[in-house]
């Protein structure tokens, strides 16, 4: 589960907000390339962590109604600080508004109360059945897989 960028979810208020944590481990292999002489978490992975936290909030809030929840837009994602190995990132997201197909959230990641990155995300929600009728059978499969991942991140999640 290496591309799951969150270690655990500490709070999840359906329809409202989520809080998760991620520790940058010194042995994460992309650090060797980013950068060889100055290992820091790539900015886009901080964005990915904010997106993943947002996606879990969205999925749990709507009872996994849509099997696919992807990043459609990101706005004003500002990087204030580097994250070095050993530091723990606290990732939070709050729902600002939602319509039938998209959810808009405000997200940020902090290290010890300093904001390292923040911005606005728009997530798109759909089922394969809507776009690729031949893949309709994959929706329940995806839902089940993702529910299991969530239960590992947030053991207390209502099922």
């Amino acid at each position: 589960m290496r591309f799951c960028l969150l270690d655990r979810i500490t709070e999840l208020e359906p329809g409202v907000k989520i809080r998760a944590v991620k520790r940058l481990r010194p042995d994460e292999d992309y650090l060797e390339d980013h950068f060889p002489r100055f290992p820091v978490m790539p900015g886009v992975l901080m964005l990915e962590a904010m997106y993943q936290a947002s996606a879990w909030l969205v999925r749990q809030s709507e009872g996994f109604a849509h099997s696919v929840v992807i990043l459609k837009e990101a706005r004003n994602i500002k990087y204030a600080d580097f994250i070095t190995p050993g530091q723990e990132l606290v990732v939070t997201a709050e729902i600002l508004k939602q319509d039938a197909a998209t959810t808009t959230l405000k997200a940020q990641a902090t290290i010890e109360d300093r904001v390292a990155v923040n911005g606005r995300l728009v997530l798109e929600r759909f089922n394969l059945a809507d776009r690729r009728p031949t893949r309709a059978g994959t929706d329940p499969y995806l839902r089940n897989e993702l529910r299991q991942v969530l239960s590992r991140l947030l053991p207390a999640a209502p099922k």
Binding site: R75, N76, K78, Y79, A80, G119, R120
Partner: protein
């Protein structure tokens, strides 16, 4: 065709809404760029680019960011800007109201000085509005 002050304000407001992700209502002439609108140094690069494009002007860095004055030993002592430094700042940035800053000219207070109104006056001086 001359640009009016209203047009300047509207375009400046659009640039700030785009660059900072704030709502239009938050962009008032008295709003400070750093304190009220949350602008950080990387945002200034974005804002400068958008203003240059919107108004067809060039904005040299020193005209909006007088770091050279604020780090010059002739103009700063014990973390405060000296009278000579203040004179330099006023000369460089005549569009800013320094009266409140003058009462306590701590260098660290400087970054929160610039208001939306100051930015508009700066642009007006460049486009002759």
């Amino acid at each position: 065709m001359a640009v009016t002050k209203d047009e300047v304000f509207n375009k400046v407001r659009t640039a700030l809404v785009d660059a900072l992700g704030v709502d239009e209502e938050e962009v008032t002439p008295q709003a400070t760029m750093v304190g009220d609108l949350g602008a950080e140094s990387i945002d200034f690069l974005d804002i400068v680019f958008k203003l240059e494009k919107a108004f067809g002007i060039e904005i040299p860095r020193k005209e909006l960011s007088p770091e050279d004055i604020l780090t010059n030993a002739d103009y700063v002592q014990d973390g405060k800007v000296t009278p000579a430094g203040l004179a330099e700042l006023k000369r460089r940035m005549s569009f800013v109201d320094f009266s409140k800053f003058e009462s306590d000219p701590q260098v660290r207070n400087f970054s929160n000085l610039l208001t939306v109104g100051d930015l508009c006056r700066y642009v007006e001086s460049k486009v002759g509005a």
